[in-house]
């Protein structure tokens, strides 16, 4: 189970993270989940072997302040989230503008919960399974 979770708002995020950094924590990663109407972002930090988390609810369309001014290590995961979830992250040290993992022809924000992407072949009509289906693992 996830313990040691602290709820936070986007405007207080950078200040809170700077405090956490001052306590000697290590930046671990950010997890983003699409909840349908909002994105759920969890920032993970390692405090001498103990994990602590900051939880952020970000409505669709809102921008996210970047942590890369505090922790340069955050820049890679923030670019990934910008690509895969379509969240605009502002003030990143290196901004790939949505071309970090994806190309021009890639689907937009593929990890959001939208219908039609990565349909499981088993729920399709039998005729459609003959074509190369995206649901196959490899």
């Amino acid at each position: 189970m996830l313990t040691n979770v602290q709820e936070i708002t986007p405007d207080r995020l950078v200040g809170e993270v700077a405090l956490i950094k001052g306590q000697g924590c290590r930046f671990v990663t950010v997890t983003c989940t699409d909840l349908g109407e909002a994105h759920d972002l969890i920032y993970h930090f390692d405090d001498q072997g103990e994990l602590r988390h900051l939880r952020l609810k970000l409505p669709h369309g809102a921008t996210l302040p970047s942590l890369s001014g505090v922790w340069f290590a955050a820049v890679i995961i923030e670019n990934e989230i910008q690509d895969l979830f379509g969240i605009t992250v502002t003030g990143m040290a290196i901004d790939y503008k949505g071309r970090f993992l994806l190309a021009e022809s890639s689907p937009k924000a593929p990890f959001n919960k939208l219908g039609g992407i990565a349909v499981d072949v088993r729920v399709r009509p039998p005729a459609a399974t003959e074509a190369a289906a995206p649901g196959g693992a490899h």
Partner: protein, 369 residues
């Protein structure tokens, strides 16, 4: 991207794309290197050449099928991924894994760590131009792959870990054979490793190259051997998951220099540590069942951490009470080591770039998933 990288520097600088196809890179990673003569001034990573959207597929498959899916995140340390995933699901569903299964998991996990480290040492030897060493080390690695094929049924994609335990048991004969192979591997390594550790030309290529100070390693979130080579005693086996708690605890192998040589020495010393763990696990293995049946579906969220050959592996698993997961996310060690790599490169010579990149043991398929 390219225009912003070049315009910030005076015209005397050169930008060269290093990769995605490069003789030393087994996997497609591109680094855009800004050079001033032969010296690297800045490095920018460009990944996305093998992004498979694996986290999204994991939401479409049911949670038992995912065991075989997450195993294919990485083609080298596959067992570690399935072990981490199974531990996460077991924590969510409050499954108590039998002790024998935990010991067997340690056996396979440490065999995997050994073959991964041998693969790395071979690749890095090839990167600094010692092809003989590369072939010798991979010949030794073959013994481990063969014993994995005999015990688990496959050379790399073991598929032996399942939710609630393991799928195969080892009988006494197989355990004796594992021990025999370990002795043979260590005997053969005795002949090869001194060359890797002490050879003049090897030291010339590695010592003092790609320095990473402990403060910077901590600040940039480096994990695993990259952090341990800078003197940070971080090894998640210390938390005692699987049977590590019963095997007398783990003392992290650390070096202080923080250069490429130290990162390689960490792997060399961990080879012996891993062999010792396999021996201990086989010695202390209790009798009993190897798996418990699992009923129900996972609900809730969990974050599991584990020590993979390259460092700390993190899975975030969120279940919603159905057979499908709400969200599955993997943070692999190379992902965490990339910022450290970007810090090591500026200031080094272009000829040292391949060695520095390989010294973090990059696994790009893991990074992009």
């Amino acid at each position: 991207m390219q225009t912003t990288a070049t315009s910030a520097f005076p015209t005397r600088n050169t930008v060269i794309p290093f990769g995605p196809q490069h003789p030393v890179l087994p996997e497609p990673l591109q680094l855009r290197l800004v050079l001033e003569d032969e010296r690297v001034v800045e490095a920018l990573p460009a990944i996305g050449y093998c992004h498979r959207g694996l986290e999204k597929i994991a939401e479409k498959k049911d949670f038992i099928q995912n065991v075989y899916l997450v195993e294919r995140i990485c083609g080298i340390c596959s067992f570690m991924h399935s072990l981490t995933y199974c531990q996460g699901i077991e924590e969510l569903m409050k499954v108590d894994v039998p002790s024998r299964a935990k010991h067997l998991r340690v056996v396979w996990a440490e065999l995997h760590r050994m073959h991964s480290h041998l693969l790395f040492l071979g690749l890095v030897s090839d990167a600094f131009g010692f092809e003989n060493l590369f072939m010798q080390l991979w010949r030794v690695r073959e013994h481990i792959l063969e014993i994995m094929e005999k015990t688990a049924g496959a050379r790399i994609m073991l598929s032996v870990c399942s939710i609630g335990g393991v799928r195969r048991d080892l009988d006494d004969g197989q355990m004796a054979e594992v021990l025999r192979v370990l002795d043979r591997v260590e005997h053969e390594l005795e002949e090869i490793l001194p060359t890797l550790m002490n050879d003049y030309s090897v030291r010339q290529r590695l010592c003092g190259v790609g320095l990473l100070s402990p403060d910077k390693a901590h600040d940039l979130g480096a994990v695993g051997p990259t952090a341990r080579a800078s003197g940070i005693p971080m090894d998640h086996r210390q938390t005692g998951y699987a049977a590590y708690g019963d095997l007398g605890g783990v003392t992290p192998v650390t070096e202080t220099a923080g250069d490429c040589y130290a990162r390689i020495m960490i792997r060399v010393r961990e080879l012996h540590q891993s062999a010792e763990f396999v021996r201990k696990a086989i010695q202390k293995i209790p009798a009993g069942p190897i798996a418990v049946p699992v009923k129900g579906n996972p609900d809730g969220e969990v974050l599991v951490r584990m020590e993979q050959p390259r460092g700390e592996l993190i899975f975030y698993i969120k279940g919603n009470g159905t057979r499908n997961l709400e969200r599955f996310r993997a943070r692999t060690p190379t992902f965490a080591n990339l910022p450290a790599l970007l810090h090591m490169l500026p200031g080094c010579q272009l000829a040292d770039v391949p060695v520095i990149i390989l010294s973090i043991d990059p696994c790009i398929s893991c990074t992009e998933r």
